[in-house]
């Protein structure tokens, strides 16, 4: 199996960058939002923004399913973890997210049995290996991840596992984008679509962005060349006054999505009437809970949790960062009271959160190189 170095080829990157410079109208400022933490990471990790002209700006949106989990939900997970019967399992992503009074890492240091897993299947196996304990999986993620939880629950049911439970915090990608587009604060020109979410749901759910709101969308792969290519495709749409959903990630994303995934999600989950998104408020039909058929596995039914809505600390401006209204460095506590080692808000906790990504990788004096203009 080859490593993907060809996608990182600097020479190809320079060519694409040159084409972008040629196409970008000098009297216009372009704001392109990406809604996937993977794209945020690629952009910062490879310094992609350095190859763009100063008037093409990449804005980071709410693409971090960990970042949007409200503090009260983390507190509930910690309450469950403190039950001595319980082994709480979760992805590493969740362990440092601060709740109202500490994170899962701190709860673990204080004696709660919290274990990191890479897949919900690992959590199910822990349950099967520990029949005397309750194993609760703290499920997070967009539609890319929800099928993994769903398939695991189907397996748990088929194998009659009685000590495995899921605390579902799965969220869906379309409602927050719609909420952003409805928001008066924001002026965006286009979107870079989330590549692996679209592998599951396809390109169709994003049509409303083009048809209802008139913004081009390009669904992008994750290598730096993919992102540059997607920016070029967006600029071409804008120059040609087209407004479509295009798929740059054709090697992986099917237009119609994955029909198996729709089936298993419909079987195992149902939409909550509404769900609180940190920084974005309550959004209707934006999150998943276990369906009635899987009620036996629902941690929210089994454990009574505080269920308290914890307000964000007053200093926290994660909401504005998540909406792309302010840049990370414009937040009053960025880098001072809120740092990766002592995060106040989730944009700083998750390594793909906009604030963490900027703090860890992007905290540089911007130097836009002006590549040779190419005749297009």
């Amino acid at each position: 199996m080859k490593f993907v170095d060809e996608f990182r080829n600097a020479e190809l990157g320079a060519v694409l960058a040159g084409q972008i410079v040629s196409l970008a109208q000098s009297d216009r400022h372009y704001k392109i939002m990406e809604v996937c933490g993977g794209h945020t990471h690629t952009i910062y990790r490879y310094g992609v923004a350095d190859l763009l002209p100063a008037n093409v700006e990449l804005v980071h949106g709410p693409g971090c399913p960990v970042c949007v989990i409200p503090m009260g939900r983390v507190d509930d997970a910690i309450a469950i973890a403190r039950d001595p019967r319980v082994i709480l399992t979760c992805f590493g992503d969740m362990m440092r997210v601060p709740g109202g009074s500490g994170s899962l890492t701190e709860a673990k240091a204080a004696g709660a049995d919290v274990r990191m897993v890479y897949s919900p299947l690992d959590a199910l196996r822990i349950a099967q290996a520990n029949p005397g304990r309750d194993v609760v999986f703290f499920a997070v993620g967009f539609e890319t991840t929800a099928p993994s939880t769903a398939l695991t629950l189907m397996r748990a049911k088929a194998e009659r596992v009685c000590n495995f439970f899921v605390y579902s915090n799965h969220v869906t990608i379309v409602p927050p984008i719609r909420a952003l587009l409805e928001s008066p604060d924001l002026r965006l020109d286009a979107f870079i679509g989330p590549g692996h979410v679209c592998t599951v749901v396809g390109a169709r759910p994003f049509h409303f962005i083009a048809t209802d709101y008139g913004k081009p969308v390009v669904i992008s792969g994750f290598e730096p060349l993919d992102v540059l290519h997607s920016v070029l495709m967006i600029l071409r749409q804008l120059a040609e006054q087209r407004c479509e959903v295009e798929n740059q990630y054709t090697r992986v994303v099917p237009y119609e999505g994955n029909s198996q995934a729709f089936r298993v999600l419909a079987d195992v989950f149902e939409l909550r009437p509404h769900f609180e998104w940190r920084g974005l408020g309550f959004i209707s039909q934006s999150a998943l809970k276990l369906s009635a058929a899987y009620a036996d596995f629902d941690a929210e039914l089994r454990y009574s949790v505080p269920g308290v809505r914890v307000a964000d600390p007053k200093a926290c401006q994660c909401g504005e960062v998540l909406k792309g209204v302010i840049k990370p460095w414009e937040c009053k506590v960025f880098g001072t009271a809120c740092t990766p080692e002592h995060p106040i808000g989730t944009c700083m906790v998750s390594s793909e959160g906009a604030c963490a990504a900027y703090y860890n990788f992007g905290r540089l004096t911007r130097r836009h190189r002006e590549p040779e203009r190419e005749l297009v």
């Binding site: 693409g63 992805f91 274990r115 991840t145 099928p147 298993v264």
Partner: protein, 76 residues
């Protein structure tokens, strides 16, 4: 990666936020679980419920323990 080895939290790789999907090759299939190997040769148990056409030798993209899609032949 074994769950009981995972004492660490890993702040540099957020599976869900990065929407990461890792290419693997299916070595063998037992009902709906594929034993797959990644680029380093490490074995992983992967749920194949979303890719019923997967066969031993298929290249799949794996996220959080589930194969999301089969990569076409000749894809890099």
């Amino acid at each position: 990666m074994r769950p009981d080895d995972a004492h660490c939290d890993d702040p540099y790789s957020c599976i869900t936020c990065s929407d990461a999907a890792v290419p693997m090759i299916v070595a063998s299939i037992d009902r709906d679980i594929g034993s797959c190997t990644d680029a380093a040769g490490a074995p992983h148990d992967v749920m194949l419920g979303l890719v019923p056409d997967a066969r031993p030798g298929s290249r799949v993209l794996v996220h959080a323990g589930v194969a999301l899609t089969i990569e076409p032949e000749g894809a890099p």
